[in-house]
């Protein structure tokens, strides 16, 4: 087994995480910034990375910046926003070819670091405000990005489930922000937010590839340094456990109904029973041998997909399936039966072992990609734990049937959401 050796070095205002490996033909640099989700900031925060990556002081137009990336053998630069529990995480990634596979020996890693520094610390500004034109363009795109969820019914119904289920919690906020809050953003107030984010966010830099520690450390300390800060952690919100199950039906002009069911697991990454929860999810709905796939798809022929997944930092589990409009009751009944079976310990040792083998496989595959490694390691930053990957794997393998049943008993059904069509019988 090829694992990951992560070296963490305290830098000025952030941590550097270094993973040396020679299995890739490229080197990857990821800059992450984490802050609590809040209604007041979520939309500015969604806009900020897109403004930063579209131009800079040295490359004031998109064409000049993108030409420079092409010049660096098609280095990729992209930003990403994610909700990790009740945090909103911004990532900037640069992936660049390792010049040892090229006939041209330009030092690409150094240039990639310089570019990351340029994007993060030398934006295109005038008089304490971002470039007006860039902000306007990116605001327009952000609005389109927020609206586009509506056109992808799978994403839409999942978003609606979370909205209904977590009403009143910050987790209900969408990672791309709120449509009405885009227009009030100005080049000035976004610039103020930029200064705030870079002085308050928890920040981490990941470097993965065939690189030398001393060299990376030198580039990082020379090119990226910020004021030190104390990290803001949030309390996990209290949820009313005794609420009745919410049932939401929404009608739109769709051919296929989308059934999304949300559960509270009351377990997050780092908890002692998280490993058992992970195995629970695998037996219940994580894979193509799982109870949901077998019973909803293979036995009843109701769906093409029927699966569950965990929101590891929030303590939720989501089931999703696309079904014929008339089969709502039958599908819900079958899914409920599978959950009951789990609570009653109605699963075999074979299912247990099979699931562990597949989870182990999935985790090892994840760390075959640079991006996957970074995401796996970042769980520790979000949760404030320091769980080594190998220990995580071992812990998962040790989960017992009894522990899984205990986990199952903790899980509460919270909300059943159904996006149904206009042709539905009821």
């Amino acid at each position: 087994m090829e694992s990951m050796a992560e070296k963490v070095i305290e830098m000025q205002g952030y941590k550097l995480h270094l993973i040396e490996t020679d299995k890739y033909k490229t080197n990857t640099i990821v800059w992450k910034m984490k802050a609590p989700l809040s209604k007041g900031d979520v939309t500015k925060r969604a806009l900020l990375p897109h403004v930063l990556q579209s131009s800079s002081n040295k490359y004031p137009t998109m064409a000049s910046l993108r030409s420079y990336l092409d010049e660096l053998y098609g280095a990729t630069l992209y930003v990403d926003l994610a909700k990790k529990g009740e945090y909103q995480v911004i990532s900037f990634s640069i992936e660049v070819a390792n010049e040892k596979f090229l006939s041209d020996q330009t030092p690409l890693l150094k240039k990639a670091f310089e570019l990351m520094s340029e994007i993060l610390t030398n934006p295109h500004i005038n008089n304490n405000a971002f470039d007006r034109e860039t902000v306007e363009k990116e605001k327009r795109t952000l609005k389109q990005r927020i609206q586009s969820v509506f056109d992808d019914k799978m994403r839409y119904s999942n978003m609606r489930l979370v909205e209904e289920m977590c009403k009143g919690e910050n987790y209900a906020l969408e990672v791309n922000g709120v449509l009405e809050d885009v227009d009030p953003i100005t080049p000035e107030n976004l610039y103020d937010y930029f200064l705030k984010a870079f002085s308050e966010d928890e920040m981490d830099l990941y470097v993965v590839g065939d690189v030398k520690e001393a060299e990376v450390q030198e580039f990082a300390s020379e090119l990226l340094h910020f004021e030190s800060r104390s990290v803001k952690n949030i309390e996990i919100a209290n949820v009313d456990n005794n609420r009745e199950v919410k049932n939401i039906k929404e009608t739109q002009d769709v051919k296929q109904g989308k059934l999304n069911i949300g559960y509270r697991t009351h377990i997050v990454y780092g908890d002692s029973d998280y490993n058992a929860l992970q195995v629970f999810n695998g037996i219940f709905g994580g894979f193509s041998h799982s109870k949901l796939f077998i019973n909803v798809r293979e036995k009843a022929s109701l769906a093409y997909y029927a699966a569950s997944r965990l929101e590891s930092h929030k303590g939720l589990m989501m089931v999703m399936s696309g079904i014929d409009l008339k089969n709502f009751d039958q599908a819900v009944r079958i899914i409920n039966e599978q959950m009951e079976a789990m609570k009653n310990g109605d699963f075999t040792d074979n299912e247990l072992e099979q699931t562990k083998a597949v989870i182990q496989n999935q985790m090892l595959e994840t760390i075959d990609t640079a991006r996957g490694m970074v995401e796996v390691l970042y769980h520790n930053v979000v949760s404030g734990h320091d769980i080594k990957f190998d220990n995580w794997l071992n812990g998962m393998q040790k989960a017992t049937k009894e522990e899984i049943i205990e986990v199952a008993k903790k899980i509460d059904l919270d909300t059943i959401y159904f996006l149904t069509g206009t042709e539905a019988v009821k």
Partner: protein, 429 residues
Amino acid sequence: MENLMFEQLQEELYFEKMSNGLHVYILPKKGFNKTYATFTTKYGSVDNTFVPLGKEEFVKVPDGIAHFLEHKLFEKEDGDVFQQFSRQGASANAFTSFTRTAYLFSSTSSVEKNLETLIDFVQDPYFTEKTVEKEKGIIGQEITMYDDNPDWRLYFGLIQNLYKNHPVKIDIAGTIESISHITKDWLYECYHTFYHPSNMLLFIVGPVDPKAIMDLVRENQAKKEYSDQPEIKRKFEEEPESAAVKKQVLKMNVQTSKTLLGIKALHVDQSGTELLKNELTMNVFLDLLFGKSSVNYEKLYGEGLIDETFSYDYTQEQGFGFAMVGGDTREPDKLAETLQEMLMTAKSGSAFTEEQLERAIKKKIGSFLRAVNSPEYIANQFTRYAFNDMKLFDVVPTLEQITLNDIANLAKEVISEDRFSVCQVIPNK
């Protein structure tokens, strides 16, 4: 077993043609946990008119049957092959494209066992009337899922505009009506015609010992009886060079409009180095024209005609091909017009400089290096290349040969208004 060394990339590829005609390739990847294997037949949704094995006459099969067969091959008398893979710690999957059906697994342990499972399940069909009927409900839901997906409808709508006769215009999964005609006998007929080892390719990439793996495959194949198969006869109707329909507007339950402009390709009989050069030149041309560093992109984005969903792509296979460009837009007609103008401008003048070309080629080389980090990319692309008599590891040297002259010639030839077509998705209220 033969082997080929690629010095610059530091990769070594092993190859053997089995006595039954099966092509096997192995690419060892040190440092990876995962082994990824694909077992692919040169049979896809476009192969709908052919002479079945042992028969004389052409038959036309129901739309969606290649994809249906892909689903059904996973089911055996003693249960589902997914179960067996997961007991062995693997994750398995399959996909059907226009020209290929691929079965695959990835696993970080029990690789040899999983590889045998892969080969054996694909080479041992088990179809019954009952299981075929049951699958119609599942695939029916897959079809309705795509019916609600505006990007899929846009993509297929555009192909249907471009092609008058060629079966590329048929949705890969077929329709609920067309799959209702599928029977176990049809499945066996397709299976026996297209799943002979000589029509198939096995690719294994991962931290494996190539000799041991090749031995395993050889022994596995030696145990199975195959008689030599004559060349498969497929039939395609004549297809005009121009687009069949100029424009189609789909009204759907969406909030954002979409526009996709297509160009029907020429020279779709190409294969080998000719095809490789042509498709790479086309890709570089599209990058120069519409890439994020291009003048056109900046103009389109600046005017608010496109957003980040904007993309472009070129597909060419035996008998069909098309370039597509577009995305979400606030002004579907203006975007369509502007894209056509940009193409016509590129046709008429020498639009690009040496410097721009050099940069575009550098970008492609870098993205190829990024792609070969991915075992999935290597196996799937290598197979596609091999089925078209091309070599994946010729990509970089071929890119380096592209000149401004090549780009100008291609633009002059392929850009023509009669081969343009537009498909749009517009909100229905």
